[in-house]
């Protein structure tokens, strides 16, 4: 992946040369030295130039890593025989707090293990399918020149292993995925990863390298509906994703799992998109991409805010961080970030540089509940759904987290509201006097004048029917027990009853 920059005079020269070389197709280098120079600088020669000869030295067993980590850069200048051992496992793992899903994985993780080789390497690929697997699996690596990308040679029954060998003729950052029928289902269950084929001269050194892979997931239940969720084929066909996630679960790159860097460092992200369906508008809030090798190819664009990562494609992105704070990785198709989980973080530590940025940290305004630890929410929801028994204290704890994310933006963290704009909830006569009305307002919103504690408010509260019944019950229970509000409780069943007996506002969720 070489420097693809051209000066304007070189551009004009190149255009002229191409025009001339079209006229005389034989040996353009004889008639036009500028055309030859352009090719030498710009063109890697593709697969025709990718065979760097027979492997040298002893076979190497590839180091594979799990996201977000990558194996160390290749440190040799001759082609080698590289042995890759990748195992397929079908595992039940959390997709979101309190939500379990059966993933099919390469290497036990979603995305699958990261493979790092050098252009010209001969890769002896072993695909093992664990005996506990119910399904056969295979692998199609986009780095493979050959039938099915390897899929026709790696079809493996449970409890067996297949082997095939290929030469990596093209450099680039390539997706691999399972290609067993029905392919969409295998991919939707998490069977994808990245293989990096480094250029012969290697990549320029950077301070941090990370592996981030987006995928869309389809479950029978709604987003964050707790318990074990099944794959929903019809939603996958309709491309109606329930979750859009980085690295296979909602918490994968958030909180303690956030990526790390220090000010002044250069970060390289190996970004993949397994799909199965959605294209990503990949953006990091608070940063600009200094270089984007779009689609994992050889030439880069500079100074990019948001780059497209195709389903079944990749991008290699480099940027330098200058100020401390939390950078937020999103799919800028923004409902995916805030309503389906396509959100990750990079925590940058170091001294402030007020000349570059003076403001507060981003997360207190933007992220709300995304930065909160949702563990208590999940714990309470699990108790609610299994035994039906949950204490008021548990509801309050869960409700506090949810309130912070959704309600505090208007009603404020202390429930005091905003004078003349948003009514208070703390010691609110309107709120405390009618519990059923409170549930209805959260479900269906409220427009028009109301009088709260003697003050008139005339605003719009949007419906929050996208929240689940247990979430609304917990938020209201928290509100009834906070900021001087005495006590009270709303149960999940009460909310279900109101949801069933009232109409949804047009345009509101379900």
């Amino acid at each position: 992946m070489k420097n693809g920059r051209l000066t304007s005079s070189a551009t004009i020269g190149m255009l002229l040369c191409l025009t001339f070389s079209l006229v005389s197709c034989d040996a353009p280098s004889q008639t036009n030295t500028k055309a030859a120079d352009y090719r030498t600088i710009m063109d890697t020669g593709g697969s025709a130039a990718g065979d760097l000869g027979a492997p040298v030295g002893e076979p190497i067993v590839a180091t594979l890593t799990s996201a977000p980590n990558v194996p160390p850069p290749i440190d040799r200048d001759t082609p080698a025989k590289v042995i890759v051992n990748l195992e397929v496992r079908e595992l039940e793992m959390p997709i979101s707090e309190g939500v379990m899903y059966t993933f099919w994985t390469f290497g036990g993780t979603v995305p699958g293990s990261f493979i790092r080789v050098r252009q010209g390497d001969t890769i002896e690929f072993h695909l093992a399918n664990h005996p506990s697997s119910k399904m056969p699996h295979n692998i199609d690596l986009h780095a493979v020149t050959g039938s099915g990308g390897g899929a026709s040679s790696s079809f493996t029954a449970p409890g067996h292993e297949s082997q095939f060998t290929f030469k990596a003729l093209n450099q680039g950052l390539f997706v691999y995925h399972c290609a067993t029928a029905p392919v969409g289902m295998h991919v939707a269950n998490g069977m994808y990863g990245l293989i990096l084929v480094e250029p012969p001269e290697g990549l320029p050194p950077v301070d941090r390298e990370y592996y981030v892979m987006q995928g869309d997931f389809y479950t029978v239940g709604k987003y964050r509906e707790k318990g074990h969720q099944e794959f929903d084929m019809q939603k996958a066909i309709d491309e109606n994703a329930t979750y859009v996630l980085f690295n296979g679960s909602e918490g994968a790159l958030v909180g303690d799992n956030a990526l790390r860097a220090n000010t002044g460092e250069t970060i390289r992200l190996f970004v993949g998109n397994g799909g199965p369906n959605l294209v990503s508008s990949f953006h990091v809030i608070g940063e600009i991409f200094d270089k984007v090798f779009s689609e994992g190819g050889t030439h880069y664009q500079e100074n990019v805010q948001t780059t497209l990562v195709p389903a079944g494609g990749s991008a290699m992105i480099e940027f330098r961080v200058e100020v401390p704070g939390t950078l937020v990785i999103v799919d800028h198709s923004i409902f995916r970030a805030f309503n389906k989980g396509a959100l990750g973080m990079i925590k940058v530590d170091g001294p402030e540089d007020l000349a570059v940025y003076t403001g507060k940290e981003v997360d207190s305004v933007y992220l709300g509940d995304k930065a909160q630890d949702l563990a208590i929410v999940a714990e309470v929801a699990a108790a609610q759904s299994t035994t039906g028994a949950v204490t008021v204290t548990q509801q309050i704890a869960a409700g506090e987290v949810l309130f912070a994310g959704t309600c505090s933006v208007c009603h404020q963290a202390d429930g005091s509201g905003l004078a003349t704009v948003f009514p208070p909830l703390a010691n609110s006569d309107f709120f405390l006097s009618d519990r059923t009305r409170a549930i209805d307002i959260v479900l269906n919103g409220l427009t028009g004048p109301v009088t709260v504690n003697g003050e008139r408010y005339d605003s719009i509260m949007p419906p929050m029917s996208q929240l689940n019944d247990d979430e609304i019950a917990n938020i209201l229970t928290y509100s009834l027990n906070s900021w001087g509000n005495d006590s009270g409780r709303v149960t999940q069943d009460e909310v279900s009853e109101r949801r069933a007996s009232t109409e949804r506002t047009p345009g509101a969720a379900r």
Binding site: K134, P136, A151, P158, H160
Partner: protein, 237 residues
């Protein structure tokens, strides 16, 4: 055994171009998959098929590996569980010893198209989703005994939701359908090709069964693969 057919089977894979209607003569099908207990009896009277004596060409090293010894089940194996870790060769030998055979693909699918009340439930999305749910569940858990759930329309148990099952012509499926085309046999094996040639594309369970059977060789055994026997109806019987 249950008596099934005769009938016209609307297959999702056509034998010849456009010909999806398969004439099935009447046949008999085991109501239940073969169990550990039944196969153990077979081993007792046919010791050449015990795992210590079997010719390696006919069964791989996983053959009957879940039993505690070549001739005993052991405490971790329930006699009434469907037999697994069994190869096509050994399954065929078992059925032949009873004067029977393995079912053929069309026969098996014809019987498996039924749910409890209907002969052909394949258009029911709820029924299809239930089958997909089983396929999506990891296979690590212990197998249930046979006949725990209701029999289907034909009085046959456990065609879905318990184990994959061998058929006599497991390997002939794709060759018959596409062998005229170059690389045709590979087409359904990977990528979206199954969706191109298959009718009723929404019935993904069938595609998954085809994929599963195609990943196998006749000597293979797996933890989630068993079988049952079938038989032809004799004249005058």
């Amino acid at each position: 055994m249950a008596t099934i057919g005769p009938g016209i089977f609307h297959s999702v894979i056509s034998e010849d171009e456009g010909d999806n209607e398969i004439d099935l003569p009447v046949f008999l099908l085991d109501r239940r998959p073969v169990t550990n207990r039944e196969f153990l009896q077979f081993i007792d009277t046919n010791p050449e098929w015990s795992r210590d004596h079997v010719i390696r060409l006919f069964a791989d090293t996983g053959y009957l590996s879940h039993w505690i010894s070549a001739t005993e089940l052991g405490p971790d194996v329930d006699a009434e569980q469907p037999l697994t870790h069994v190869s096509w060769f050994s399954a065929t030998a078992y059925c032949e010893a009873k004067g029977a055979r393995l079912p053929r693909w069309y026969e098996w699918e014809f019987a498996a198209a039924a749910d409890v009340t209907r002969a052909d439930a394949r258009d029911d999305p709820i029924w299809r989703q239930q089958i997909l749910n089983w396929y999506a569940t990891p296979g690590g858990r212990s197998l249930a005994p046979i006949a725990q759930r209701a029999a289907n329309f034909y009085g046959v148990y456990d065609l879905h939701g318990l184990v994959w099952e061998w058929v006599e012509d497991y390997n002939a499926l794709l060759v018959a359908a596409d062998s005229r085309e170059q690389g045709g046999a590979d087409k359904v094996r990977f990528c979206g090709a199954g969706a191109l040639s298959m009718e009723r594309k929404e019935n993904y369970a069938i595609l998954m069964r085809i994929a599963m059977l195609n990943s196998l060789e006749a000597a293979y055994t797996t933890r989630n693969l068993g079988f049952r026997c079938a038989a032809d109806v004799l004249e005058g019987a």
